[in-house]
């Protein structure tokens, strides 16, 4: 069965996010004074073949934890979709 994992990787709260800060400041200059914060992150679409949802979930968990994210500075989350 084919699955698509949508993996979001974001920096942990107390790690400086200069990109998020730069985007936030630019938004302010564009007039969005009601925006209070921007944190940047990454989005990955990982398509994989797997025997079951549970198997796919376990595999994506390992891929996200050991490769797509650096646990010292990032956390991840993901959703799994059945493609067919």
């Amino acid at each position: 069965m084919k699955y698509r994992a949508k993996v979001i990787v974001k920096k942990i709260e107390n790690v400086a996010d200069p990109e998020g800060k730069a985007i936030f400041e630019a938004l302010f200059r564009l007039g969005y004074e009601n925006v209070s914060s921007v944190r940047s992150g990454k989005l990955f679409f990982v398509d994989l073949e797997s025997g079951s949802v549970d198997e796919a979930r376990k595999e994506v968990e390992v891929i996200a934890r050991d490769f797509l994210s650096n646990p010292i500075i990032e956390r991840f989350d993901f959703e799994l979709e059945v493609l067919g």
């Binding site: 920096k11 790690v15 400086a16 010292i72 500075i73």
Partner: protein
Amino acid sequence: MKAGVVVFPGSNCDRDAFWAIKKPLGEEVEFIWHKDSDLSMFDLVILPGGFSYGDYLRTGAIAKFSPVMSAVKNFSEKGGLVLGICNGFQILLECGLLPGAMIPNEHLRFICKDVHLRVERNDTPFTNSMKVGQILRIPIAHFEGNYYADDATIERIEKKGSVIFRYCDENGEVSERTNPNGSRNNIAGLMNESGNILGMMPHPERASEKLLGSVDGLRIFESILSYCKTRLHSE
């Protein structure tokens, strides 16, 4: 002494590192392709600067899976010396061979300039030719040189004396003002607890000849050579 300079796809400071060992230092040096796995003939392995794998995903994140890196890990476990320069430091961090991580420079600019480093220890294979408190002038060229580790890790590395170089000014003052990229505790160079792996963001190979304006980087290579000679005599 025989040195090896690892070449990853995207490394671009490998030739300068090779030159610094071959000419100013005058020792044997070879390139090591990232798929090679035999490092037994080397005393020193250099992971050079550059943009291995285009810095894709995270800087150093893909290089950590190159076949050579398990050889580097084994080599270091047997006491071999490893010097990670700039991208090389980033790779060592991603591998977990050194603690912490690199994030983008605080002011989001690629910084390319000479900086001053304060030598924190001189009882290491990398700094034995220097004095504690000595100031080195060596260039940096990076976008992701902002060293980060959590409070517990910072406390541990400070307690263990793992910090070898700190960003300072020409008088040795270490402060926010003298920090070019936001690195915690102005950390510019870090050693592992066994004392045989050094990661540093500045480029010593670019400060190894008078023609380039500074030979302070050469002092690091000379220290390594001295250490290797002493080790050979005691075997």
